[in-house]
Symmetry: C2
Subunit: 343 residues, 2 copies
């Protein structure tokens, strides 16, 4: 367990080759004789040798460190992403350095660039909403820092993106709610300067329209994605003269707020009101009644991101770099939505 530190020189000596050759083996250079390679690998294995990351980095100006930049209140999402990235990158020899930030800060770009500079990170993964800041991406490009952005959407040039087709999922939700025979359907959107909010809103709204049931203007309100906002907008909608029988909220936090508001007003869910959310976070399954919502394949997104980022860093595998990574969230049916006929 507590072996002395053994270096590339030791391996070279032990294997009877030069350290250049050992280096070649480590870095999987093709120009090594088959037997030499096997011999060296055997010694490496035997002595449990692991190349020193710092020395490697100093010489090759690489750090084998990836950064995760985020400003997202949903800790569960973050945690899932972290695990997803790590699953992939640790087996490739990379580690993950975390960096929460304030995405609204005017200093964001500098902050992130300095973060990368400070530890010579090889690349970073950007989570929403920080991933939606184009100026950040520009600055990263200018500094030739490899990065991948996780965003809601499905159409852009895919090189630096991993996308979640929230629009499609929201459309599915529109169909689902309609299939429950609801007539008066409301939506609480997220802040419409967020891409994800727009995608979800448009997916939902357009589909309702296509199905011949366009959303009434007074039944679409904008929230902040926070619980309190859900309560507030929920209360507003539910005290309308002709209140909706179904409310689709931009995320689970706000959906919980709606449920709270309904509860306070004595409105029964799902008998008198159906509520649906988006995210499938911890709350969704714990709340009573359990929330019908939409689940994103977060782990999968994280793996896509890690794969793409490492491909960019290591230069090889051009198809992994340009691969179009779009992921499809799906409806999770629980108890908070029911047929409108019961009313």
């Amino acid at each position: 367990m507590n072996q002395e530190k053994i270096t590339i020189n030791d391996i070279a000596r032990l294997a009877g080759v030069s350290k250049r050759t050992v280096s070649r083996v480590i870095n999987q250079s093709p120009k090594v004789g088959e037997q030499t390679k096997i011999k060296v690998e055997k010694i490496i294995e035997q002595y449990n040798y692991v190349p020193d990351k710092q020395a490697r980095g100093l010489a090759s100006s690489r750090s084998y460190l990836l950064g995760l930049v985020y400003d997202n209140p949903d800790a569960l999402y973050i945690d899932d992403i972290q695990r997803g990235i790590l699953e992939f990158c640790s087996q490739k020899g990379y580690e993950l350095v975390v960096h929460p930030c304030r995405y609204k800060s005017p200093d964001l770009n500098n902050n992130v660039v300095n973060f990368v500079r400070r530890s010579k990170l090889d690349g970073i993964v950007l989570l929403p909403p920080a991933s939606e800041v184009d100026s950040l991406a520009d600055v990263l490009d200018q500094n030739s820092i490899p990065y991948v952005r996780l965003v809601s959407g499905f159409s852009e040039a895919s090189e630096n993106f991993v996308m979640s087709n929230d629009r499609h999922a929201a459309a599915e939700m529109a169909k689902y709610i309609t299939s429950l025979n609801h007539q008066k359907i409301a939506m609480i959107t997220g802040p419409l300067n967020y891409r994800s909010s727009r995608e979800r809103f448009e997916g939902f709204s357009n589909t309702m329209q296509e199905m011949g049931q366009p959303l009434a203007a007074d039944l679409v309100v904008e929230g902040t994605n926070q619980y309190e906002s859900g309560i507030e907008q929920g209360r507003h909608l539910l005290t309308l003269e002709n209140r909706p029988t179904a409310i689709f909220a931009n995320n689970d936090e706000m959906a919980s707020g709606v449920i709270k508001a309904a509860h306070d007003l004595g409105i029964k869910i799902p008998d008198e009101l159906s509520v649906c959310g988006f995210d499938d976070n911890l709350l969704a399954s714990r709340i009573i009644p359990a929330l019908t919502t939409i689940k994103r394949p977060v782990r999968e997104m994280a793996k896509f991101a890690a794969n793409k980022l490492i491909a960019k860093i290591e230069g090889g595998n051009p198809q992994a770099i340009s691969q179009n990574c779009v992921v499809h969230p799906e409806i999770v049916i629980r108890e908070s939505a029911g047929s409108a006929n019961k009313v």
Copy 2:
């Protein structure tokens, strides 16, 4: 923004001193003339020079990287801890590398040691329950890897610990519930092989006894800390012939389960049953009725841990190293617990 990389040599040349002197200034060596120091600092400032971490690390066998090792399902807790540590350590020039693990794995010790070795981490923070594994701590000691353990407790030698006095908090909870005039009080403990579970249980149980209302043996059951376990044990307790009027669960997840069970059985909370949890995680405030629970000052713990770890790494500040860091969780009163008189 996109300046050429500038090194210690440039600074030395610009300042008209040797790089040895610049190095002294950077590392705050006392043996530098006051004017020289000022001169060099000015140049450093002017050129926005930041020493290269890898080169530094190679030369001094330091990495300026801290590790966070955890196997905790509570993502909110993790997130809070991460932010707390970062707040402190980034201003000291350290970054945080995350490492989820399986604390039950027989390979845990090796896994963690290799994690540290791989990136030459300067030290690690251990979160419960991994922090409770003594053999891990031993191995870390053997490999002289600096570490700090976050645990529930308050009495041990404090050098490697940051402690949360869960026992005291649970005692407070006992007093609070008793003050509500409950007679039949139950507790769902966590797995009793966890230190935190024992602390909470003993704090609660002992205090009840001291107040002349010892817990009935059949009203103490052991859960797994998971939601499903809360449902199961909650159902069990609530279908007892002489069911309790108050249930204290080892954590919020299980408390939510109890609420679910009560709901399914048509038992009104808090009128017919009071439920209390521990953690104050996201659920606690979102659930209906909102959960009366206990909140740990997580950020504070994280800062203590970072401070202690860095003090250990840098060798200085012996009082920070030996400082007894005990933190006191506090009751958060919400809606899930009420007076027993109403029944």
